[in-house]
Assembly symmetry: C2
Homo-oligomer: 411 residues x 2
Amino acid sequence: MSTFQSLSGFRDFLPEDCAFRDRLFALWRESARRFGFDPYDGPPLEPLELYKKKSGEEIVKQLYNFIDKGNREVALRPEMTPTLARMAGAAQRAYKKPLKWFSIPQLFRYERAQRGRLREHFQWNCDIIGEPGLGAEAELLALMVDAFRAMGLGAAEVEIRVSDRHFWKDYLARHSVPEDRHYDFFQAIDKVGRDPDEVVRGKLGALADDVFRIIREGGSSPRLEELLGLVAAYGIQDFIRIDLGIVRGLAYYTGVVFEAHDRKGEFRAIAGGGRYDDLLKNIGGVDLPALGFGMGDVVITEILKAKGRLGPEPDPRHVHLIIPDEAHRAAALEVATLLRAGGYRVDVPLAAAKVGRQFEAAQDRGAHHAIVVDGAWSTQRTVGLKDLATRAQVSVRLRVEEGRVTGWEQV
Amino acid sequence: MSTFQSLSGFRDFLPEDCAFRDRLFALWRESARRFGFDPYDGPPLEPLELYKKKSGEEIVKQLYNFIDKGNREVALRPEMTPTLARMAGAAQRAYKKPLKWFSIPQLFRYERAQRGRLREHFQWNCDIIGEPGLGAEAELLALMVDAFRAMGLGAAEVEIRVSDRHFWKDYLARHSVPEDRHYDFFQAIDKVGRDPDEVVRGKLGALADDVFRIIREGGSSPRLEELLGLVAAYGIQDFIRIDLGIVRGLAYYTGVVFEAHDRKGEFRAIAGGGRYDDLLKNIGGVDLPALGFGMGDVVITEILKAKGRLGPEPDPRHVHLIIPDEAHRAAALEVATLLRAGGYRVDVPLAAAKVGRQFEAAQDRGAHHAIVVDGAWSTQRTVGLKDLATRAQVSVRLRVEEGRVTGWEQV
């Protein structure tokens, strides 16, 4: 006998964890559906060059890249946006604009292993391509809030901080900061309030106090004020706060950017995104404005579990068959087939077992009812029905229509 | 402007393809749910050693393996069963047996690039762990048939060929073929009817004619006959045919094996699986019997598309808002929020556009209704409702309950 280990930083999803994840994914898909977003997906592996320079240093230096057997430089995707830009650029002619697309890719990174630090996560990506106006920003923010509400998270629990890189670009231009220093400047703003002021001051130089004042006095911009009007029409204004201290790390953002946090600040950022009007041109070969956001599965799962949300729901259509005598196995399998055809979730004992053990298994599986199949099935089309919560057992006749069970009546 | 290419052998899923794939995945999940199978998932990347020797040469030589940045030998998973064996072996103590688990992993291989040859696919994996009896084989076969039926594929279109490696092991023992020649023998049987008889004859030697006779005369075994009794109780006997020519390539199978094909033989195998009673011991460190099957997305998608199955369904809850005057944008966004809260799929024009263009967009998006929001919303809570198929337009009052639209009445 031997045992194997999984790679450090990669998760196994045992059934309870996987079921939770699937409920989260279903919730994301359902919000996307309500907003008219269409699904897409791309390869988990892409040529390394797709990420070089476009994504910002902090992503490129953490890439999970390698040389493949064909001597190509490839990388496990660290984010979805470059793939989206590539795909949308190649296919956009076939679609009316704007495109509203979503995906739930697994993403990867490779950095020095730290305890508990993951090398993969799943991320809900929602993007709008081909719309330059703020209506697109408002729609994306409303979509994110729709998902929060579906999770039972209200404006008292989460907020989305919205900022505008245009504001800072104009600011830097006014203060004659050269273009090649903008990226470092944005990185420094990103750290205001997170790193000590003296540290950030060293990076911002003479502009430091003015930048601190703008962020801390709740500075805004005409663009952000217009956006606030739109989000109010969506009825999501309680979730939104202007915060010019948000810039997002990625190099490709060009306009409005935003980040969702839990109000208490107990967790890392829940989601983030913004406008990246140059990326389609640089990667997809077509000049289309675009914007989007990503919400990872790790932080939101921590929050939902801490609040006891999105837990398993009891399934009244989950039944467990009991076969008291192997002579009735064929009858039980027939009943199982009829129930399953009717949409019931049916566990069948796959081998002979004592009746007590079968009832234990039914309890353990979380079944709602046990259905006892014995000779009465062949003679009267009746079975024993035991409610596993109340332990009441009655005899019922299954209503069978066109080869499927559609209900039952007590006899 | 520049454009990037994806890696050869990796698919992009544009919205129509991705929606088809999602419908297939949903169908698979729904069949698994009806049979009481629980979801699990594991890492797409595993240590190379997990696959060495256990999976059979044909998989190992096609592995998508590489050296990672930490100098570890790793591989993108070529199949799910070793991961399952590792996970189940480590976690099985927490669960009553048998485990019934399913997953839909993306799998990878690397071989010489050929035109149209994919390096990734998705595969529905369903496995039962901890049950040594044929009840488990029958349950798995019934699950596969349940999925076929849900796809609209009947016994006239697909069949599952079932064989038994035990039969051949006994046969080889009777004919004193040494253990170390069994694997090659199985590989040769696998080719009967696919490679020319002379080629197979060269590999089977003196036993060739006897083997040909057994397969072609429809030979069976007591175990397979018992299994046939069980599948009849499930009502799936029309889908099942005994065919001792099926052995499955993988080295780890130990008992009953099976493979699903389209009856006309126009496509490659749809699905395959079998019993692998030694794998948990070898990989998971715990001696538990196990069996399972995998169904890839590529062949079944070809079949379903050829037959026009699993296509998009019209969605009567898909509406497209029309904003005839930007003065009513805020009202339209309010209506959109109420409709979405009620579960409707709602497309909103994100920027000002001529009304004719908005109706065109509604048609193009495949919306069922267009909803025109103008001043009547604020004054009378009414909107214009246009059926995009019949082009009939009426004025309706939206029924709003607790912040969500629950229907509408003509006024």
